[in-house]
Amino acid sequence: MAASKNRPSGFSRKAQYSLFAAYVLTIAGAVFAGLLLVISVIDPTGFAALRKIGAEVTAPVARAFDSLRRSVNDLGGNTSAYFDAAAKNAKLTKEVKANRTKIIEARAIKLENKRLRNLLALKQAETGHIAIGRLISSTASSSRRLATLSIGSNYNIENGQPVRGPEGLIGRIIEVGPTTARVLLITDPGNPVPVMRVADGVAASGEGTANGMVMVRPVNLGINPFKIGDIIVTSGNGGLFRPNIPYAKVVKIIPDGALARPLANPAFTPYAMVLPIYEQEAMETLAIPADEPIAPAQAAEPQE
Protein backbone atom coordinates (compact mmCIF):
# COMPACT_ATOMS: atom_id res chain seq x y z
CA MET A 1 0.00 0.00 0.00
CA ALA A 2 1.22 3.49 -0.77
CA ALA A 3 2.40 5.76 1.98
CA SER A 4 0.21 8.70 2.80
CA LYS A 5 1.16 11.85 0.96
CA ASN A 6 2.17 14.11 3.83
CA ARG A 7 4.90 11.94 5.28
CA PRO A 8 7.80 12.47 5.83
CA SER A 9 7.14 16.15 6.18
CA GLY A 10 10.66 17.06 4.99
CA PHE A 11 11.72 20.68 5.07
CA SER A 12 8.26 22.14 4.63
CA ARG A 13 7.54 24.12 7.79
CA LYS A 14 3.85 24.11 6.98
CA ALA A 15 3.74 20.31 6.71
CA GLN A 16 5.75 19.94 9.91
CA TYR A 17 3.46 22.27 11.82
CA SER A 18 0.28 20.65 10.52
CA LEU A 19 1.57 17.20 11.48
CA PHE A 20 2.49 18.50 14.94
CA ALA A 21 -0.91 20.13 15.29
CA ALA A 22 -2.58 16.85 14.31
CA TYR A 23 -0.68 15.03 17.06
CA VAL A 24 -1.58 17.70 19.61
CA LEU A 25 -5.25 17.55 18.62
CA THR A 26 -5.36 13.76 18.75
CA ILE A 27 -3.68 13.55 22.14
CA ALA A 28 -6.02 16.27 23.43
CA GLY A 29 -8.89 14.19 22.05
CA ALA A 30 -7.65 11.09 23.84
CA VAL A 31 -7.34 13.05 27.10
CA PHE A 32 -10.87 14.39 26.60
CA ALA A 33 -12.15 10.85 26.04
CA GLY A 34 -10.29 9.75 29.17
CA LEU A 35 -12.07 12.50 31.11
CA LEU A 36 -15.42 11.29 29.77
CA LEU A 37 -14.51 7.83 31.00
CA VAL A 38 -13.58 9.21 34.42
CA ILE A 39 -16.95 10.96 34.58
CA SER A 40 -18.55 7.62 33.67
CA VAL A 41 -16.64 5.98 36.53
CA ILE A 42 -17.83 8.62 39.00
CA ASP A 43 -21.40 8.68 37.72
CA PRO A 44 -22.21 5.56 35.66
CA THR A 45 -25.64 6.89 34.69
CA GLY A 46 -24.29 10.31 33.67
CA PHE A 47 -24.43 9.81 29.93
CA ALA A 48 -27.65 7.82 30.03
CA ALA A 49 -29.41 10.55 28.06
CA LEU A 50 -27.11 10.03 25.06
CA ARG A 51 -27.55 6.27 25.16
CA LYS A 52 -31.31 6.74 25.46
CA ILE A 53 -31.26 8.84 22.29
CA GLY A 54 -29.32 6.08 20.57
CA ALA A 55 -31.79 3.44 21.68
CA GLU A 56 -34.84 5.54 20.79
CA VAL A 57 -33.53 6.41 17.33
CA THR A 58 -32.80 2.83 16.38
CA ALA A 59 -35.80 1.24 18.11
CA PRO A 60 -38.12 1.52 15.04
CA VAL A 61 -35.67 -0.51 12.94
CA ALA A 62 -35.27 -3.10 15.67
CA ARG A 63 -39.04 -3.28 16.15
CA ALA A 64 -39.60 -3.74 12.43
CA PHE A 65 -37.11 -6.59 12.21
CA ASP A 66 -38.17 -8.18 15.48
CA SER A 67 -41.02 -10.29 14.12
CA LEU A 68 -38.76 -11.49 11.29
CA ARG A 69 -36.10 -12.47 13.82
CA ARG A 70 -38.55 -14.40 15.93
CA SER A 71 -40.02 -16.28 12.99
CA VAL A 72 -36.51 -17.24 11.89
CA ASN A 73 -35.81 -18.37 15.46
CA ASP A 74 -38.97 -20.48 15.45
CA LEU A 75 -38.09 -22.03 12.10
CA GLY A 76 -35.44 -24.32 13.56
CA GLY A 77 -37.70 -25.60 16.34
CA ASN A 78 -40.66 -26.07 14.04
CA THR A 79 -38.62 -28.03 11.51
CA SER A 80 -36.99 -30.28 14.06
CA ALA A 81 -40.38 -31.01 15.63
CA TYR A 82 -41.31 -33.01 12.52
CA PHE A 83 -38.56 -35.51 13.10
CA ASP A 84 -39.29 -38.33 15.56
CA ALA A 85 -42.77 -36.93 16.05
CA ALA A 86 -44.25 -40.37 16.69
CA ALA A 87 -41.80 -41.30 19.44
CA LYS A 88 -42.23 -37.89 21.02
CA ASN A 89 -46.02 -38.26 20.89
CA ALA A 90 -45.91 -41.58 22.72
CA LYS A 91 -43.54 -40.18 25.34
CA LEU A 92 -45.67 -37.09 25.89
CA THR A 93 -48.86 -39.13 26.23
CA LYS A 94 -47.20 -41.15 28.96
CA GLU A 95 -46.05 -37.96 30.65
CA VAL A 96 -49.50 -36.41 30.49
CA LYS A 97 -50.96 -39.47 32.22
CA ALA A 98 -48.34 -39.29 34.94
CA ASN A 99 -48.82 -35.55 35.35
CA ARG A 100 -52.59 -35.71 35.65
CA THR A 101 -52.47 -37.30 39.07
CA LYS A 102 -49.76 -34.90 40.16
CA ILE A 103 -51.85 -31.92 39.07
CA ILE A 104 -54.76 -33.17 41.18
CA GLU A 105 -52.46 -33.55 44.15
CA ALA A 106 -51.03 -30.09 43.53
CA ARG A 107 -54.53 -28.60 43.41
CA ALA A 108 -55.33 -30.16 46.72
CA ILE A 109 -52.11 -28.80 48.20
CA LYS A 110 -52.88 -25.35 46.81
CA LEU A 111 -56.30 -25.40 48.41
CA GLU A 112 -54.84 -26.51 51.69
CA ASN A 113 -52.21 -23.79 51.44
CA LYS A 114 -54.89 -21.18 50.84
CA ARG A 115 -56.89 -22.44 53.81
CA LEU A 116 -53.83 -22.34 56.07
CA ARG A 117 -52.98 -18.85 54.87
CA ASN A 118 -56.49 -17.69 55.63
CA LEU A 119 -56.12 -19.26 59.03
CA LEU A 120 -52.96 -17.24 59.65
CA ALA A 121 -54.60 -14.13 58.17
CA LEU A 122 -51.71 -13.71 55.76
CA LYS A 123 -52.28 -11.45 52.83
CA GLN A 124 -51.54 -13.11 49.50
CA ALA A 125 -48.52 -11.52 47.87
CA GLU A 126 -49.42 -9.64 44.74
CA THR A 127 -48.49 -11.41 41.56
CA GLY A 128 -49.28 -8.58 39.19
CA HIS A 129 -47.04 -7.05 36.60
CA ILE A 130 -46.52 -3.52 35.41
CA ALA A 131 -46.31 -4.04 31.67
CA ILE A 132 -45.47 -6.59 29.04
CA GLY A 133 -43.03 -5.81 26.23
CA ARG A 134 -40.55 -7.52 23.98
CA LEU A 135 -36.78 -7.56 23.90
CA ILE A 136 -35.83 -5.95 20.60
CA SER A 137 -32.03 -5.82 20.64
CA SER A 138 -28.98 -6.41 22.77
CA THR A 139 -25.41 -5.19 23.09
CA ALA A 140 -24.17 -8.12 21.08
CA SER A 141 -20.60 -6.84 20.71
CA SER A 142 -19.89 -5.60 24.23
CA SER A 143 -18.97 -7.62 27.30
CA ARG A 144 -21.72 -5.73 29.11
CA ARG A 145 -24.89 -7.71 28.76
CA LEU A 146 -27.73 -5.29 28.11
CA ALA A 147 -30.91 -5.75 26.14
CA THR A 148 -33.38 -3.16 24.88
CA LEU A 149 -37.02 -3.52 25.87
CA SER A 150 -39.71 -2.27 23.48
CA ILE A 151 -41.53 -0.23 26.15
CA GLY A 152 -40.36 2.58 28.41
CA SER A 153 -41.68 5.28 30.68
CA ASN A 154 -44.84 5.39 28.54
CA TYR A 155 -45.80 2.17 30.39
CA ASN A 156 -44.73 3.43 33.85
CA ILE A 157 -41.48 1.52 33.83
CA GLU A 158 -38.91 2.62 36.39
CA ASN A 159 -35.31 1.82 37.22
CA GLY A 160 -34.70 -1.34 39.22
CA GLN A 161 -37.84 -3.20 38.23
CA PRO A 162 -37.27 -6.92 37.55
CA VAL A 163 -37.98 -8.33 34.10
CA ARG A 164 -38.99 -11.93 33.54
CA GLY A 165 -40.06 -14.11 30.65
CA PRO A 166 -42.35 -17.13 30.73
CA GLU A 167 -39.39 -19.41 31.54
CA GLY A 168 -37.77 -17.30 34.21
CA LEU A 169 -35.87 -14.21 35.25
CA ILE A 170 -34.30 -12.13 32.45
CA GLY A 171 -32.82 -9.17 34.32
CA ARG A 172 -33.68 -5.77 35.69
CA ILE A 173 -34.29 -2.31 34.25
CA ILE A 174 -31.36 0.11 34.49
CA GLU A 175 -32.24 2.90 32.05
CA VAL A 176 -35.65 4.12 31.00
CA GLY A 177 -36.28 6.15 27.87
CA PRO A 178 -39.61 7.46 26.58
CA THR A 179 -40.46 4.34 24.55
CA THR A 180 -37.57 1.99 25.29
CA ALA A 181 -35.78 0.69 28.36
CA ARG A 182 -32.45 -1.00 28.92
CA VAL A 183 -32.46 -4.32 30.72
CA LEU A 184 -29.34 -5.52 32.54
CA LEU A 185 -29.44 -9.26 31.82
CA ILE A 186 -28.77 -11.76 34.59
CA THR A 187 -25.74 -12.92 32.59
CA ASP A 188 -24.00 -9.57 33.20
CA PRO A 189 -21.21 -9.81 35.80
CA GLY A 190 -22.59 -6.72 37.54
CA ASN A 191 -26.04 -8.15 38.25
CA PRO A 192 -26.08 -10.08 41.52
CA VAL A 193 -29.32 -11.90 42.33
CA PRO A 194 -30.16 -13.45 45.74
CA VAL A 195 -31.25 -17.01 44.98
CA MET A 196 -31.98 -20.34 46.65
CA ARG A 197 -32.19 -23.95 45.62
CA VAL A 198 -35.81 -24.78 44.99
CA ALA A 199 -35.69 -28.19 46.69
CA ASP A 200 -34.52 -27.13 50.15
CA GLY A 201 -34.04 -23.37 50.08
CA VAL A 202 -30.23 -23.35 50.40
CA ALA A 203 -29.48 -19.63 50.11
CA ALA A 204 -26.99 -18.54 47.48
CA SER A 205 -26.02 -15.55 45.43
CA GLY A 206 -25.96 -15.66 41.65
CA GLU A 207 -24.17 -13.40 39.21
CA GLY A 208 -23.44 -13.46 35.51
CA THR A 209 -20.22 -14.47 33.81
CA ALA A 210 -20.96 -12.64 30.51
CA ASN A 211 -20.72 -15.86 28.51
CA GLY A 212 -24.34 -16.88 28.78
CA MET A 213 -23.96 -18.62 32.14
CA VAL A 214 -24.40 -17.56 35.75
CA MET A 215 -22.25 -18.39 38.76
CA VAL A 216 -24.10 -19.48 41.89
CA ARG A 217 -22.23 -19.28 45.21
CA PRO A 218 -23.74 -20.54 48.47
CA VAL A 219 -24.09 -17.91 51.19
CA ASN A 220 -22.85 -20.35 53.85
CA LEU A 221 -19.36 -21.28 52.72
CA GLY A 222 -18.05 -24.69 53.49
CA ILE A 223 -19.36 -27.84 51.88
CA ASN A 224 -20.57 -27.11 48.38
CA PRO A 225 -24.22 -28.22 48.49
CA PHE A 226 -24.95 -28.07 44.75
CA LYS A 227 -25.48 -31.00 42.42
CA ILE A 228 -25.80 -30.98 38.66
CA GLY A 229 -29.42 -30.50 37.68
CA ASP A 230 -30.43 -28.42 40.70
CA ILE A 231 -33.02 -25.77 39.91
CA ILE A 232 -32.26 -22.34 41.34
CA VAL A 233 -34.98 -19.74 41.94
CA THR A 234 -34.92 -16.22 43.36
CA SER A 235 -35.19 -16.10 47.13
CA GLY A 236 -36.73 -12.68 47.58
CA ASN A 237 -33.90 -11.48 49.81
CA GLY A 238 -32.75 -7.94 49.19
CA GLY A 239 -36.24 -6.85 48.27
CA LEU A 240 -35.75 -6.40 44.51
CA PHE A 241 -36.84 -9.71 42.99
CA ARG A 242 -39.90 -11.48 44.32
CA PRO A 243 -39.30 -15.06 45.49
CA ASN A 244 -39.68 -18.18 43.34
CA ILE A 245 -38.91 -16.70 39.94
CA PRO A 246 -37.08 -19.48 38.08
CA TYR A 247 -33.43 -18.43 37.70
CA ALA A 248 -31.08 -21.13 36.45
CA LYS A 249 -30.24 -24.83 36.31
CA VAL A 250 -26.89 -26.07 37.61
CA VAL A 251 -24.73 -27.58 34.86
CA LYS A 252 -21.26 -27.69 36.40
CA ILE A 253 -19.85 -27.82 39.92
CA ILE A 254 -16.88 -25.58 40.67
CA PRO A 255 -14.89 -25.43 43.95
CA ASP A 256 -16.80 -22.53 45.50
CA GLY A 257 -20.21 -22.96 43.95
CA ALA A 258 -21.75 -23.94 40.66
CA LEU A 259 -22.08 -22.78 37.10
CA ALA A 260 -25.69 -22.65 36.01
CA ARG A 261 -27.49 -22.01 32.76
CA PRO A 262 -30.28 -19.40 32.97
CA LEU A 263 -33.70 -20.92 32.42
CA ALA A 264 -34.90 -17.98 30.33
CA ASN A 265 -33.03 -17.41 27.09
CA PRO A 266 -33.60 -13.76 26.14
CA ALA A 267 -33.12 -14.61 22.45
CA PHE A 268 -36.09 -16.96 22.39
CA THR A 269 -38.39 -15.46 24.97
CA PRO A 270 -41.68 -14.47 23.32
CA TYR A 271 -42.35 -11.60 25.73
CA ALA A 272 -40.78 -9.88 28.69
CA MET A 273 -42.88 -9.02 31.73
CA VAL A 274 -41.87 -6.07 33.89
CA LEU A 275 -42.62 -6.76 37.56
CA PRO A 276 -42.92 -4.28 40.40
CA ILE A 277 -40.02 -4.05 42.83
CA TYR A 278 -40.71 -6.69 45.45
CA GLU A 279 -39.84 -4.57 48.48
CA GLN A 280 -42.60 -2.15 47.55
CA GLU A 281 -45.00 -5.07 47.52
CA ALA A 282 -43.75 -6.12 50.91
CA MET A 283 -44.17 -2.53 52.12
CA GLU A 284 -47.76 -2.50 50.90
CA THR A 285 -48.37 -5.78 52.69
CA LEU A 286 -46.88 -4.30 55.84
CA ALA A 287 -49.00 -1.17 55.55
CA ILE A 288 -52.02 -2.78 57.13
CA PRO A 289 -53.08 -1.49 60.58
CA ALA A 290 -50.33 -2.00 63.11
CA ASP A 291 -52.44 -3.45 65.90
CA GLU A 292 -52.92 -6.69 63.99
CA PRO A 293 -50.03 -9.05 64.74
CA ILE A 294 -49.01 -9.88 61.19
CA ALA A 295 -45.62 -10.97 59.89
CA PRO A 296 -45.69 -11.53 56.15
CA ALA A 297 -43.85 -14.69 55.25
CA GLN A 298 -42.22 -13.22 52.15
CA ALA A 299 -40.89 -10.03 53.70
CA ALA A 300 -37.13 -9.67 53.52
CA GLU A 301 -36.69 -8.71 57.19
CA PRO A 302 -38.89 -9.99 59.99
CA GLN A 303 -41.10 -7.31 61.45
CA GLU A 304 -40.10 -6.16 64.92
Binding site: M1, A33, R51, A62, S141
Partner: protein, 198 residues
Amino acid sequence: MKRAGGGFKTRQAGPLKKSPMAVFKRPSRTYESRLNREQSRLSMIAIPVASVLLGSMVTAMPIIETQPVLPPLGLMIFLAWRLLRPGLWPMWAGLPFGMFDDMFSGQPFGSAALIWSLIMIALEIIDMRAIWRDHLQDWLIASFMIVIALFGGLICAGLVYKARAEAIVLLPQILLSLLLYPITVRMVARLDRWRLST
Protein backbone atom coordinates in the same frame (compact mmCIF):
# COMPACT_ATOMS: atom_id res chain seq x y z
CA MET B 1 -19.53 -5.11 -14.88
CA LYS B 2 -19.72 -3.03 -18.01
CA ARG B 3 -16.74 -2.70 -20.30
CA ALA B 4 -15.86 0.68 -21.72
CA GLY B 5 -15.40 -0.84 -25.20
CA GLY B 6 -19.09 -1.66 -25.51
CA GLY B 7 -19.97 1.95 -24.95
CA PHE B 8 -17.67 3.23 -27.68
CA LYS B 9 -19.03 0.72 -30.19
CA THR B 10 -22.54 2.01 -29.76
CA ARG B 11 -21.34 5.56 -30.10
CA GLN B 12 -19.42 4.81 -33.32
CA ALA B 13 -22.25 2.81 -34.92
CA GLY B 14 -24.14 5.94 -35.96
CA PRO B 15 -24.97 9.47 -34.94
CA LEU B 16 -26.89 9.71 -31.69
CA LYS B 17 -30.58 10.11 -32.38
CA LYS B 18 -32.22 12.84 -30.38
CA SER B 19 -35.56 11.06 -30.11
CA PRO B 20 -37.30 11.34 -26.76
CA MET B 21 -36.81 7.62 -26.25
CA ALA B 22 -33.03 8.01 -26.51
CA VAL B 23 -33.02 8.78 -22.82
CA PHE B 24 -33.90 5.18 -22.07
CA LYS B 25 -31.14 3.66 -24.19
CA ARG B 26 -28.84 2.44 -21.51
CA PRO B 27 -25.31 2.34 -23.02
CA SER B 28 -25.16 5.87 -24.35
CA ARG B 29 -26.80 7.29 -21.27
CA THR B 30 -24.54 5.37 -18.92
CA TYR B 31 -21.32 6.47 -20.55
CA GLU B 32 -22.39 10.03 -21.26
CA SER B 33 -23.04 10.51 -17.59
CA ARG B 34 -19.80 8.86 -16.58
CA LEU B 35 -17.38 10.51 -19.00
CA ASN B 36 -15.92 13.89 -18.22
CA ARG B 37 -18.00 14.35 -15.09
CA GLU B 38 -17.31 15.96 -11.74
CA GLN B 39 -16.89 13.61 -8.82
CA SER B 40 -19.46 14.14 -6.13
CA ARG B 41 -17.71 15.66 -3.13
CA LEU B 42 -20.62 14.67 -0.94
CA SER B 43 -20.31 10.96 -1.63
CA MET B 44 -16.50 11.16 -1.37
CA ILE B 45 -16.85 12.37 2.19
CA ALA B 46 -20.14 10.80 3.25
CA ILE B 47 -19.67 7.18 2.15
CA PRO B 48 -16.75 6.35 4.49
CA VAL B 49 -18.31 8.22 7.41
CA ALA B 50 -21.71 6.60 6.89
CA SER B 51 -20.20 3.13 6.60
CA VAL B 52 -18.46 3.44 10.00
CA LEU B 53 -21.54 4.91 11.67
CA LEU B 54 -23.75 2.15 10.30
CA GLY B 55 -21.21 -0.41 11.49
CA SER B 56 -21.46 1.06 14.99
CA MET B 57 -25.26 0.97 14.85
CA VAL B 58 -25.43 -2.73 14.01
CA THR B 59 -25.94 -3.50 17.71
CA ALA B 60 -29.35 -1.85 17.37
CA MET B 61 -30.44 -4.67 15.09
CA PRO B 62 -32.57 -7.30 16.82
CA ILE B 63 -29.70 -9.64 17.57
CA ILE B 64 -30.13 -10.86 21.12
CA GLU B 65 -27.18 -12.72 22.55
CA THR B 66 -26.38 -13.82 26.07
CA GLN B 67 -22.66 -13.46 25.35
CA PRO B 68 -20.64 -11.00 23.27
CA VAL B 69 -20.12 -12.67 19.88
CA LEU B 70 -20.91 -9.92 17.38
CA PRO B 71 -17.62 -8.49 16.05
CA PRO B 72 -17.11 -4.77 16.68
CA LEU B 73 -18.13 -3.88 13.12
CA GLY B 74 -17.83 -0.12 13.57
CA LEU B 75 -14.23 -0.46 14.69
CA MET B 76 -13.41 -2.96 11.94
CA ILE B 77 -14.77 -0.72 9.18
CA PHE B 78 -12.99 2.26 10.75
CA LEU B 79 -9.69 0.34 10.79
CA ALA B 80 -10.19 -0.87 7.23
CA TRP B 81 -10.70 2.68 5.94
CA ARG B 82 -7.74 3.95 7.95
CA LEU B 83 -5.41 1.24 6.67
CA LEU B 84 -6.69 1.40 3.09
CA ARG B 85 -6.68 5.21 2.80
CA PRO B 86 -4.22 6.61 5.34
CA GLY B 87 -4.89 10.28 4.54
CA LEU B 88 -8.66 10.05 4.40
CA TRP B 89 -9.38 11.23 7.93
CA PRO B 90 -7.43 13.49 10.26
CA MET B 91 -5.70 11.79 13.13
CA TRP B 92 -8.26 12.99 15.68
CA ALA B 93 -11.10 11.21 13.83
CA GLY B 94 -11.03 8.43 16.44
CA LEU B 95 -12.67 10.73 18.99
CA PRO B 96 -15.98 11.55 17.20
CA PHE B 97 -16.35 8.07 15.73
CA GLY B 98 -15.59 6.48 19.10
CA MET B 99 -18.11 8.71 20.88
CA PHE B 100 -20.76 7.70 18.37
CA ASP B 101 -19.89 4.04 18.93
CA ASP B 102 -20.24 4.53 22.69
CA MET B 103 -23.83 5.64 22.23
CA PHE B 104 -24.80 2.24 20.86
CA SER B 105 -22.37 -0.32 22.21
CA GLY B 106 -23.53 -0.37 25.83
CA GLN B 107 -19.96 0.26 26.97
CA PRO B 108 -19.31 3.09 29.45
CA PHE B 109 -19.33 6.43 27.63
CA GLY B 110 -15.85 7.51 26.61
CA SER B 111 -14.27 4.07 26.41
CA ALA B 112 -14.42 3.67 22.62
CA ALA B 113 -13.55 7.36 22.19
CA LEU B 114 -10.39 6.82 24.21
CA ILE B 115 -9.46 3.49 22.64
CA TRP B 116 -10.09 4.62 19.07
CA SER B 117 -8.03 7.80 19.63
CA LEU B 118 -5.14 5.73 20.96
CA ILE B 119 -5.46 3.37 17.99
CA MET B 120 -5.19 6.34 15.60
CA ILE B 121 -1.97 7.50 17.29
CA ALA B 122 -0.57 3.96 17.22
CA LEU B 123 -1.39 3.59 13.52
CA GLU B 124 0.29 6.92 12.79
CA ILE B 125 3.45 5.70 14.50
CA ILE B 126 3.27 2.38 12.63
CA ASP B 127 2.86 4.29 9.36
CA MET B 128 6.09 6.14 10.08
CA ARG B 129 8.04 2.92 10.74
CA ALA B 130 6.60 0.55 8.16
CA ILE B 131 5.74 2.57 5.09
CA TRP B 132 5.22 -0.11 2.45
CA ARG B 133 2.97 -2.84 3.69
CA ASP B 134 0.95 -5.63 2.13
CA HIS B 135 -2.46 -6.96 3.01
CA LEU B 136 -1.15 -9.61 5.41
CA GLN B 137 0.72 -7.03 7.45
CA ASP B 138 -2.34 -4.79 7.54
CA TRP B 139 -4.43 -7.73 8.69
CA LEU B 140 -1.92 -8.40 11.46
CA ILE B 141 -1.96 -4.75 12.53
CA ALA B 142 -5.76 -4.62 12.45
CA SER B 143 -5.97 -7.90 14.42
CA PHE B 144 -3.69 -6.50 17.07
CA MET B 145 -5.78 -3.32 17.31
CA ILE B 146 -9.08 -5.24 17.50
CA VAL B 147 -7.76 -7.45 20.30
CA ILE B 148 -6.46 -4.41 22.19
CA ALA B 149 -9.77 -2.60 21.70
CA LEU B 150 -11.88 -5.54 22.92
CA PHE B 151 -9.75 -6.06 26.02
CA GLY B 152 -9.69 -2.30 26.59
CA GLY B 153 -13.48 -2.29 26.42
CA LEU B 154 -13.63 -5.12 28.94
CA ILE B 155 -11.32 -3.25 31.32
CA CYS B 156 -13.26 0.02 30.93
CA ALA B 157 -16.55 -1.75 31.67
CA GLY B 158 -14.92 -3.36 34.70
CA LEU B 159 -13.65 0.02 35.93
CA VAL B 160 -17.03 1.68 35.67
CA TYR B 161 -19.37 -1.08 36.80
CA LYS B 162 -17.03 -2.65 39.40
CA ALA B 163 -17.64 -6.13 38.03
CA ARG B 164 -15.60 -7.51 35.19
CA ALA B 165 -16.16 -10.56 33.04
CA GLU B 166 -13.43 -13.16 32.60
CA ALA B 167 -11.17 -12.34 29.64
CA ILE B 168 -11.83 -15.77 28.13
CA VAL B 169 -15.37 -14.60 27.36
CA LEU B 170 -13.96 -12.50 24.51
CA LEU B 171 -12.26 -15.41 22.72
CA PRO B 172 -15.10 -16.35 20.32
CA GLN B 173 -15.66 -12.70 19.48
CA ILE B 174 -11.95 -12.11 18.83
CA LEU B 175 -11.66 -15.14 16.56
CA LEU B 176 -14.73 -14.13 14.61
CA SER B 177 -13.50 -10.55 14.25
CA LEU B 178 -10.06 -11.58 13.01
CA LEU B 179 -11.49 -13.95 10.43
CA LEU B 180 -14.04 -11.39 9.32
CA TYR B 181 -11.52 -8.58 8.86
CA PRO B 182 -10.39 -9.48 5.29
CA ILE B 183 -14.05 -9.51 4.16
CA THR B 184 -14.49 -6.11 5.78
CA VAL B 185 -11.50 -4.79 3.83
CA ARG B 186 -13.00 -6.15 0.60
CA MET B 187 -16.29 -4.42 1.34
CA VAL B 188 -14.55 -1.19 2.21
CA ALA B 189 -12.49 -1.38 -0.99
CA ARG B 190 -15.69 -1.82 -2.98
CA LEU B 191 -17.19 1.15 -1.18
CA ASP B 192 -14.03 3.12 -1.93
CA ARG B 193 -14.37 2.43 -5.64
CA TRP B 194 -18.01 3.48 -5.54
CA ARG B 195 -17.07 6.60 -3.58
CA LEU B 196 -14.51 7.74 -6.15
CA SER B 197 -16.52 6.77 -9.23
CA THR B 198 -19.72 8.61 -8.53
